[in-house]
Symmetry: C2
Subunit: 196 residues, 2 copies
């Protein structure tokens, strides 16, 4: 754990830069923030940032890759809890509510909207994020159907796409007004429709 921490936080400044960049990405999008914003917030200069991340594209890529790994850890963590599949789906949906609670939009959701203007380097990681989420959902749905706790028509993959779409879309629509109640209501109804 200490060794892992030492590795993860090898350069304290680089990590702080990534964290601020991630928050700005999730609230303002890739084209909505600059090195100046990060420098101001961390009390550094733009030149210092370039020492850690040579280009904005590389910084963005670091943020998205780190987030992808984090998401994978979270989903494997849900699996490790040994919950019923339906409860796993509930946990998954709760993550979207937590994102809005933290005053953020989904990182890859906002980047998907801006996709055409995002550096090619980052585009692949965005697609991979959705692919991984859909795959985990399909597996969890399959498990729930086998156990009789999850229902719904269509293949596991199709139902996973439906679930993912609804959560991403609900977060997107509730994001402008930070409408946690509306998001919560939509999540509740969605889960209800999946409960066997």
């Amino acid at each position: 754990m200490l060794a892992l921490d030492a590795k993860t936080h090898s350069g304290g400044t680089a990590d702080r830069i990534v964290e601020v960049a991630q928050r700005l990405l999730q609230t303002r999008g890739y084209n909505g923030f600059s090195y100046a914003d990060i420098a101001l917030e961390l009390g550094l200069t733009k030149a210092s940032l370039h020492h850690h991340f040579c280009t904005k594209a590389h910084l963005g890529d670091s943020v998205v890759r780190r987030h992808l790994e984090y998401a994978q850890t979270v989903l494997r963590g849900i699996d490790a809890e040994g919950l019923d599949a339906f409860e796993s789906l509930r946990r998954y949906a709760q993550v979207y509510e937590d994102v809005l609670l933290g005053d953020r939009m989904c990182l890859c959701g906002i980047l998907a909207a801006e996709f055409d203007t995002v550096p090619a380097l980052i585009q692949e990681s965005i697609s991979e994020f959705f692919r991984f989420n859909a795959q985990w959902l399909a597996q969890t749905i399959a498990r729930g159907r086998a156990a009789g706790s999850v229902r719904g028509s269509g293949s596991d993959e199709e139902l996973a796409q439906l679930l993912l779409s609804t959560l991403e879309g609900a977060l997107l629509i509730c994001w402008p007004g930070r409408d946690r109640a509306r998001l919560s209501g939509t999540v509740r109804l969605l889960l209800e429709s999946l409960r066997a």
Copy 2:
């Protein structure tokens, strides 16, 4: 009709500017395009654009307001066809598929993602767009339930939010890869779940 056209197209150049701006907004977002892009495409100069739209915020506002009116016309047009409510919902969903077919993302979806960085002038129209869509969906759902062609739990308004969220989210996820087949599959499954 001629009079309406004459009014709508009062200044031919202004309309062409709005149309190009709309396409750029729907593909690149508000922070992803500039007056230079439009000027280049129309063979004008940036200064000429400022003659028609004094600021970028006003141009964006014109695009969104016009689109809101267009959406209202489309939905009232669906109502005027006298279809069964479920068929109206199918038409509605088809609009999202048509948007991707036209190589575009939902205008207000992309602007919702960028919400915090969009001029305040435009923010209100974005919220109004979703409000209007949700209202139309709730009314159509109510009509379908009364006629026995639409099913689903939750209030009309909650189900409308669920439908809107799923369509917006499906378009968002399919946008990066222009994945029309995936969008089509999600739409089909969604409609299936609503058919009484």
